[in-house]
């Protein structure tokens, strides 16, 4: 286990975070939730930017307090709202990274910057949002970190750039012993990348599921009033009243497809699962 959070708590006026989650070695774990659900706070606690009020964080099988600065160099991070000073150029950043990380691969970093059309001599203040986002991910993957903690790494990127970044992350995972914890608003990114997904709402984890299971076995049943009444509800997780009747989230899509062939059943997706988990009601 590269990272585990056990009842990690942080309280602010009007908001409290209480999460437990794990990131396994060799896995990409996604954290998804609406704005203000607690994703960034969770990431900040993991990175030591915010002090937790209670709970346990274990990193590389050690308590967080025992993590040395050398071991901290095994974490690569991107934050959605923070980065290098805008008055620096990439050339200067290369110099800084060389002196900060023992395992910084300068040649690979420069090659990738060129591949992603990132200018070396321009100041960051002249960069577009997309260029800055790319630079953050390239930086986090440049020093052989064992764990990447990526908060909204694809925000502000166009489809092509997003795809390249996701490809870069897949390539990063080809080396054994690495893991990624990633958050994104773009659910399709997580669906195609993550091995498992945590859903967070109002500071609490509302669902943890393997991505393949979520996509293959979950489903959204759309039933009118009559169909809903006749429905076997033992595998229904959440129900939401709609204009046409009810939408029901199930983790046994095959069961309903087989026994109720007349029902409209959508395949599971991160979007409809999270919507139902947050807005739906338990029977």
């Amino acid at each position: 286990m590269l990272l585990s959070l056990k009842n990690l708590q942080k309280n602010y006026p009007g908001f409290s975070l209480d999460v437990s989650m794990e990131v396994e070695e060799g896995q990409i774990t996604g954290l998804i939730g609406a704005n203000g659900a607690g994703k960034s706070t969770t990431f900040k606690v993991i990175l030591g930017l915010v002090h937790p009020d209670a709970g346990e964080i274990r990193l590389f099988n050690k308590d967080m307090e025992q993590i040395s600065q050398k071991e901290k160099a095994d974490i690569g991070a991107t934050l959605s709202d923070s980065g290098f000073s805008n008055c620096l150029t990439v050339k200067q950043i290369v110099h800084i990274l060389t002196e900060t990380y023992e395992k910084f691969d300068r040649e690979m970093f420069e090659k990738r910057c060129s591949l992603f059309s990132i200018p070396m001599d321009k100041k960051l203040k002249e960069f577009s949002t997309g260029m800055k986002a790319k630079l953050k991910v390239l930086t986090a993957t440049s020093f052989d970190a064992r764990l990447l903690v990526l908060d909204e790494p694809t925000a502000g990127l166009d489809v092509i750039a997003r795809d390249s970044i996701l490809e870069l992350l897949r390539e990063y995972m080809e080396t054994e012993g690495r893991s990624i914890l990633i958050s994104s608003h773009i659910s399709s990114d997580l669906e195609s990348l993550c091995d498992d997904i945590y859903m967070i709402d109002k500071g609490r984890i509302v669902l943890h599921e393997n991505t393949d299971v979520l996509l293959d076995e979950y489903g959204l049943i759309k039933a009118d009033e009559k169909q809903y009444e006749l429905l076997d509800k033992q595998h229904i997780l959440k129900v939401k009243k709609e204009q046409y009747g009810y939408s029901c989230l199930t983790d046994e899509r095959a069961f309903y497809a087989e026994n109720y062939p007349q029902l409209a059943i959508e395949r599971g997706s991160v979007d409809n699962v999270i919507t139902m988990m947050i807005k739906g009601e338990v029977l």
Binding site: K44, L47, G48, L49, V50, H51, Q69, K70, K72, A73, I75, A77, L79, D81, S82, G83, F84, S85, N86, C87, L88, Q92, H95, I96, L97, T98, E99, T100, Y101, V149
Partner: protein, 222 residues
């Protein structure tokens, strides 16, 4: 910590043209006006302190601080690096200013007594160290923009308290002759002892300031 030093050097390199311009103006003023060595040394030393302080403002700009702390550097190390940078910048540029003042004095272009030169050098260094010791914790606690406001309030507050104090002392006819005698007695101990005392005072100021800054940073959340 080395990476942080490099970062700060790179940030300062970006502002180098402005700083060099300001230094040239200071040297020009010193050579072409009646400004004495105390002006040159104090000006250059305090500006060196400002250069170091400016790196905190750059780190803080555009919410850059959280990203810095994802690097393998503890908050304690960050603070230590800033104080070391401040001390280094002030020492080097103060030494350059003192060397210029000594050169000008030795050339006979404009003579002041060596005692005055030594006193000017000591005061210049003290002012720069004092500036760093006071402003570092304020800037780290409040950030660069609010920090400037807090500093302004603090300076005016001290001035107001000082003025009220003087007025009150005059009205109450407080006798300061004891304090004057103490100053004279210290001066009579000789220049080396005075300098050593000043050095210890500066060291204490920096140590107290650094301890406060570390506590501020360790409590801070991003």
């Amino acid at each position: 910590m080395k990476g942080m030093f490099v970062k700060d050097m790179e940030i300062m390199r970006g502002n180098m043209k402005t700083f060099i311009g300001v230094y040239i103006i200071a040297i020009f003023c010193f050579l072409s006006t009646s400004a004495g060595p105390s002006f040159l040394i104090s000006y250059v030393s305090v500006l060196a302190a400002v250069m170091a302080l400016n790196t905190i403002a750059s780190d803080d700009m555009d919410n850059g601080m959280p990203y810095i702390f994802t690097f393998p550097i503890s908050r304690k190390e960050y603070v230590k690096e800033k104080y070391l940078l401040g001390a280094g910048m002030v020492t080097v540029l103060w030494a350059v200013a003192v060397a210029i003042a000594i050169g000008v004095n030795a050339s006979g272009y404009r003579m002041v007594s060596w005692e005055e030169l030594i006193a000017s050098a000591a005061v210049g260094l003290f002012l720069a160290v004092f500036a760093n010791a006071v402003v570092f914790p304020i800037q780290l606690k409040y950030g660069s923009s609010t920090g400037r406001l807090v500093l302004l309030v603090l300076v005016f507050g001290i001035m107001a308290v000082g003025w009220i104090g003087v007025e009150l002392c005059q009205k109450m006819k407080v006798d300061f002759s004891g304090l004057k005698n103490l100053g004279l007695r210290i001066w009579n101990l000789g220049i080396p002892v005075c300098l050593a005392m000043l050095f210890v005072l500066m060291l204490l100021m920096v140590l107290i300031s650094c301890t406060i800054s570390i506590k501020i940073m360790e409590k801070k959340e991003y």
